[in-house]
């Protein structure tokens, strides 16, 4: 793949996003914008209790309400349950507990918001009015909410087959080697971390329209999904038993996902199933309160970690014990997040030779928990960077030097970690040095003194990290329990008059693929970017793809497009050779033109395209007409972007308010296609990281299981004034195993930032004797930490 020819619309150019015209002028087509003829509306009656038996559901009055088409409950539901896409085995080899997950509850409700009845009416208001007339008799039972307590004996059990609410008890690494290293350690640092539950809050709430065409027997589902083919496969094969040839899934414009729109949700299955029964389209749109209750939540891990070091601060071994909340049911990818997306990252950027991780997955009577921007890697990075920081404070070794001395050396790549992953390339020294310079780390003391004069405590914090993304090599993940392949597809259709449609199995929901993939093809085929359309989201149009998440679209989807382009160019060269009466070996392709080496013969790409479809002067006995090629690309490894984040905060000690005054990010994301889009991804990721560090937390009442943070009145989303200008830097080491050299950028911002922020907060509070604080470091928490330290000092 060419390096980037410096063209204004090719690789490396900050081309303005094509998508923005429709998004910024209100012309986007989101699922709720779509209206089907004869459409009905669905409203879901949800459980007000966290745990209860359903003794009786009386729908008689509701069914007679104006406009009601039908009302369906768990007793009517005769299809399959929502499947889990990743199977984990416990330490003893037994498979994880895999309880059924029906889209309508049959006999019990297991979290506030659980689906109890599906009301279908002529209008949304009628559906909602009718739902109020449904009489449900619940027998409440005691819920188990606390992750810390759920696996202790004597607690309420969410599932009979999951003893002590434990779904699985898994491990990775070498316990014996780790124990031996700890026995010899000069110093051991321990830390207890809570990575708090977050609620994704994509700007567009979920929606789904199910449709059934009686004439053809075909089903259509419009849905706010990051991966329409995955939904078609899961829902068609496992839930509703509809053959894929009769099931079309369309994800139109999708307004953000951050992972929350990956999973196959009950509502998708319900509107499709019910559409088959009533033979009319059924539209369901979530409101924000519903989204808080039922979108898959993120994070929610408790970690205990210990780091063994020699007398010079070299890391000898790391051991980690984790409890991860699954919620009441297993969501599509939930089991892999705290295991294969978390524990395999425990080496981080360090050369720690021995690592052992244990993970217990726990059921509680709460909403499901699954991947959310970073999906496991933020949890591990936060743990590592808090632990290393604590180790520095305890041993007196400089916080930067302790990291530097433990970095994987520049010449050690490919580097095999003790936790399965093999890193292909990376240069943590350069990103560190660049970040230190950009953040003016050296000048911090002066700024701290000046802030003191204004009555503020100023602190600076650092995080050096990497992550594993570009998900994923199919055989590897298959051996680890994945029930799917994770390749991607790219199809390039050259039209007779030279314009091109690129069909991608990825699904942009904010990433700008219509622009960046067009840049790739513009550069690769040498044609104007205006002549390239990128099509995604409709399973009727696009070969099977796995969608957009895990920072995979460029590394895997882009690579598939490159492979397809290679095939296009190979075939085009044969056509061009024929047109120029030369041998294929002598034909070169550059800047959209085919030439014969050593001559002035040339033929432009457009001519080749037309010739392919009007094959008069054509090697017809050797070559088929047409010019369209498909590639399925299965990555050879994960990709490993990473870097260094440095955060500076000022704290008002009287109120506890933390202000982020500087944020510097230097990330190595491999090849950059569109610097403006990459920078935007870092901005968004850092904003979410600051949100986790200082502002956001989902909270359930431990007695009742009610969601206490059920709206923006109590769940604190970052606003523009919570985020400073972010200084974004970039250092490139190319990925060695994909044709683009791309590593991915979608999640690094949210992964590297939270520990940088909290390390800065603790740095500011260190003179007051504060040694620990939990996320989010709200003003209340900071004030409390200060008071506690004051009392301890008295």
């Amino acid at each position: 793949m060419p390096e980037g020819t410096g063209s204004a619309t090719g690789i490396g150019a900050s081309v303005k996003r094509k998508e923005d015209f429709r998004f910024l002028t209100g012309r986007g087509t989101y699922t709720d914008d779509i209206n089907r003829p004869g459409q009905t509306y669905a409203y879901i009656l949800r459980s007000p209790h966290a745990s209860a038996d359903i003794a009786k559901i009386d729908t008689a009055k509701a069914k007679a309400a104006p406009g009601v088409v039908t009302i369906l409950t768990g007793a009517d539901y005769d299809k399959g349950g929502l499947p889990c896409g990743w199977q984990i085995h416990s330490k003893d080899g037994s498979p994880m507990a895999e309880p059924p997950h029906f889209p309508l509850c049959k006999d019990k409700v297991r979290h506030v918001g659980d689906q109890v009845a599906l009301v279908i009416a002529e209008t949304y208001a009628q559906a909602r009015d009718a739902a109020e007339l449904i009489d449900v008799t619940y027998q409440e039972t005691k819920p188990i909410i606390s992750l810390a307590d759920a696996d202790k004996p004597g607690q309420p059990q969410v599932w009979p087959d999951a003893k002590n609410n434990t779904c699985f008890d898994w491990h990775i690494g070498d316990k014996a080697a780790v124990d031996a290293a700890f026995a010899k350690a000069a110093h051991v640092t321990k830390i207890d971390i809570v990575n708090q539950r977050l609620i994704p809050n994509a700007m567009e709430p979920r929606a789904a329209i199910g449709d059934f065409d009686r004439a053809t027997g075909e089903f259509t589902l419009y849905t706010t999904s990051q991966n329409p083919h995955v939904i078609r496969l899961l829902m068609g094969a496992f839930v509703l038993q509809i053959p894929e040839s009769k099931l079309r899934v369309v994800a139109p414009d999708v307004g953000g996902g951050f992972g929350s729109k990956i999973f196959h949700y009950a509502e998708e299955a319900l509107v499709t199933w019910a559409a088959g029964k009533v033979e009319r389209p059924i539209k369901w749109t979530s409101d924000r309160s519903e989204a808080f209750l039922t979108d898959a939540h993120g994070r929610d891990q408790i970690n205990h970690a210990e780091l063994a070091m020699d007398k010079d601060g070299k890391f000898l071994a790391l051991r980690v014990a984790t409890k991860a909340n699954m919620g009441a049911y297993l969501s599509t990818f939930a089991p892999c997040v705290p295991t294969y997306l978390s524990a395999t990252l425990l080496a981080g950027v360090y050369s720690t030779p021995a690592i052992y991780g244990e993970v217990k997955a726990i059921f509680t009577n709460t909403a499901v928990v699954d991947a959310y921007r970073g999906a496991g890697r933020p949890e591990t990075t936060y743990l590592l960077e808090r632990l290393v920081e604590k180790a520095a404070r305890e041993t007196g070794i400089d916080r930067v030097e302790i990291r530097r001395k433990n970095f994987i050396p520049k010449d050690a790549f490919p580097y095999q970690t003790p936790v399965a992953l093999q890193y292909d390339s990376g240069d943590y020294f350069s990103t560190l040095d660049m970040a230190l310079k950009n953040a003016d780390w050296a000048g911090f003391e002066k700024r701290k003194a000046e802030a003191k004069g204004r009555g503020k405590l100023r602190g600076i914090g650092i995080s050096t990290y990497l992550e594993a993304c570009g998900i994923a090599p199919s055989a590897v993940v298959g051996s680890l329990g994945a029930r799917a392949g994770l390749y991607e597809t790219g199809q390039i259709r050259v039209h007779p008059t030279g314009s091109v449609t690129v069909f991608t199995g990825t699904h942009s929901h904010g990433q700008g693929h219509e622009t960046t993939f067009a840049q790739l093809v513009s550069e690769g085929l040498g044609i104007p970017i205006e002549n390239i359309e990128v099509s995604h989201g409709d399973t009727n149009k696009i070969p099977f793809g796995m969608g957009t998440y895990g920072s995979r679209s460029l590394a895997v989807g882009g690579s598939a497009i490159v492979k397809a382009m290679d095939k296009i160019i190979t075939k085009s060269k044969r056509i061009a050779a024929h047109l120029m009466e030369a041998s294929v070996a002598d034909v070169e392709f550059k800047n959209g033109v085919f030439t014969v080496v050593g001559t002035d013969k040339s033929v432009p790409f457009g001519t080749v395209a037309l010739t392919a479809y009007v094959p008069h002067n054509y090697p017809i006995t050797e070559l088929e007409p047409g010019l369209e090629e498909t590639a399925f690309y299965d990555p050879l490894n994960f990709t490993f972007p990473g870097g260094c984040h440095i955060c500076e905060v000022e704290i008002d000690p009287d109120t506890g308010t933390v202000e982020v005054v500087n944020f510097t990010a230097v990330d190595d994301i491999g090849r950059v296609i569109n610097p403006m889009i990459a920078e935007g991804q870092i901005h968004g990721g850092v904003a979410q990281g600051i949100g986790q560090a200082l502002l956001e937390a989902a909270a359930y009442d431990e007695e009742s299981g009610q969601l206490l943070t059920g709206s923006y009145m109590d769940y604190c989303m970052p606003r523009a004034d919570n985020i400073p200008n972010i200084n974004v830097g970039n250092h490139v080491t190319l990925c060695t195993h994909n044709p683009l050299g791309a590593k991915g950028v979608g999640e690094v911002g949210a992964i590297g930032s939270p520990p940088a922020v909290i390390n800065a907060v603790l740095d500011a509070l260190l003179p007051l004797g504060v040694k620990d604080i939990a996320m989010p470091a709200t003003p209340h928490k900071v004030w409390q930490a200060i008071q506690t330290a004051k009392k301890a000092a008295e």
Binding site: S289, D654, M713, D714, P779, H780
Partner: protein, 264 residues
């Protein structure tokens, strides 16, 4: 929301008649509290009586010992009024801190006072300045008006027409925002008035209240240090996800000091 009958009277007298005739009527001014409540189906009034077309409820007038503000005046109008900025700058400042730009275009001072949300800003100004609430039936002093959480001295169907704020020697308002809702976790209004120092606290307790200890301390020495030295009791103060009673107590004295230091 559920269905209701909608009225748009053009006089206070007609509004009083309309609410009297309704089985379960509610006034709506800016709707910034009522409309979200209706959308969540938490209330089901039979009638909504819209007060926004009543001229008698509008207007800002410098008169007597201070300034009179019509109940139907929006927060934005108060914040941007040259008269308010000149007469009681702390009042204009407080209005500019309410909600956000969109809320300030619609929310009214009458609605805020009548609703008496425990975290609303205006009750702190009314109580802090010793304002007088003029209704269509009588005049009520601020000290007698605020009765507790969402409770006031207003009788059924009684309509606030205007509020009169006496001009203080100086006054200040400091608001510490609950990070999510950006309502006042604690808001303190401090005023040096003809009858002495008044300190009104919102957000910290079940309703707006005056702090005797801070009034005494600031009465002696109107400065940030005097306020900081006062330890406020956490007894009876609100505790929730966003702050313990002890935290709110600490904020009360911190904010009182900052309000005094910045008083104009």
């Amino acid at each position: 929301m559920h269905n209701f009958a909608f009225h748009r009277p053009t006089s206070v007298a007609d509004a009083a008649k309309a609410i009297g005739a309704a089985s379960d009527g509610k006034f709506v001014a800016g709707g910034q509290t009522l409309l979200p409540t209706l959308r969540q189906r938490l209330a089901q009034p039979s009638d909504m009586i819209d007060l926004s077309a009543i001229a008698e409820l509008k207007g800002i007038k410098v008169e007597g010992d201070g300034i009179t503000i019509g109940a139907g005046t929006t927060h934005s109008e108060v914040a941007n009024s040259a008269d308010v900025q000149k007469t009681i700058p702390a009042l204009a400042h407080l209005a500019s801190l309410i909600g956000d730009h969109q809320v300030r275009q619609r929310g009214t001072i009458g609605g805020s006072i009548a609703n008496n949300d425990p975290a609303a800003d205006y009750p702190a100004a009314a109580l802090g300045l010793g304002a007088t609430v003029k209704t269509n039936k009588r005049e009520i002093k601020a000290d007698d008006f605020f009765k507790g959480m969402f409770e006031t001295a207003l009788e059924e169907g009684e309509i606030i027409v205007s509020l009169h704020f006496p001009k203080p020697e100086k006054a200040g308002y400091e608001k510490f925002r609950q990070p999510a809702s950006r309502f006042a976790l604690v808001g303190v209004f401090v005023a040096k008035t003809k009858s002495g120092v008044r300190v009104a606290v919102t957000g910290a307790g079940p309703g707006v209240f005056r702090s005797k200890e801070l009034e005494a301390a600031l009465g002696g020495n109107f400065s940030a240090d005097a306020a900081k030295g006062v330890k406020i009791s956490a007894n009876g103060l609100n505790g929730d996800l966003h702050g313990s009673p002890e935290y709110r107590a600490s904020l009360v004295s911190t904010l009182a000091g900052r309000a005094a230091a910045g008083a104009k």
